[in-house]
Symmetry: C2
Subunit: 130 residues, 2 copies
């Protein structure tokens, strides 16, 4: 991504940001595309992809690489983990109270300088357990 470029505020960009911030279900690019298209029917998938990456690089939204084969996006929030139901694909957030400690602990263990981490828990949600 080229940071020497002066960014412009476009209708598409604002709309995409708004939809990701509003959404609760960690939408994929395709999901965002469908949401935005309701109000801007002529928007293209390519534009959605480009803007999602751009918004990430500007720190306005966050990208989840670890849930399934698709990339998903979410609004910026306190650091948290995710639980995935292996039956229905529901994804929920978990807010740990020792996130920073983990970064430190693993940094010492490995001699890496850790910038962040994430964790995904897999299982069966309460509804699917019945």
């Amino acid at each position: 991504m080229d940071f020497s470029i002066k960014r412009r505020s476009t209708r598409q960009r604002r709309m995409i940001l708004k939809e990701v911030k509003k959404s609760k279900f960690h939408p994929s690019a395709e999901d965002v595309y469908k949401l935005v298209r309701k109000k801007m029917p002529r928007i293209s998938l390519g534009t959605v992809y480009r803007n999602l990456e751009l918004l990430c690089s500007e720190g306005l939204i966050f990208r989840l690489d670890n849930i399934d084969s698709k990339r998903r996006y979410e609004h910026i929030d306190n650091p948290h983990y995710h639980v995935v139901c292996l039956r229905c694909d529901r994804v929920e957030d978990i807010y740990p109270d020792n996130y920073g400690k983990w970064n430190e602990a693993m940094g010492e263990y490995t001699n890496f300088k850790i910038s962040h981490h994430n964790a995904v828990f897999y299982g069966t949600c309460s509804e699917c357990q019945t």
Copy 2:
């Protein structure tokens, strides 16, 4: 994957398993393909893909979905996490001493029945820090 089928032991399958078990660097399908091809030049990529998945489903190797955009594979081992160097892409293993506790704790927190979890730490390795 069809479990009613009776599996056969082929030269290709044995070779693929051996290479994954031997490898220390969490190889991708393409990596395994290159390794195996040194000794079996006519093996196809499709065969590698099919067998990696098959070996996973039989519990003989383990699949890592969370490192980067490619799937990677590793030998079966005690549960562990991974650290990724954002500069040189090196991947190392971390053996936590409270893996099981985390499953329990998150199960209570979420009311999910957690079967497993994994964590990836991102940062800069000691060599790349200089």
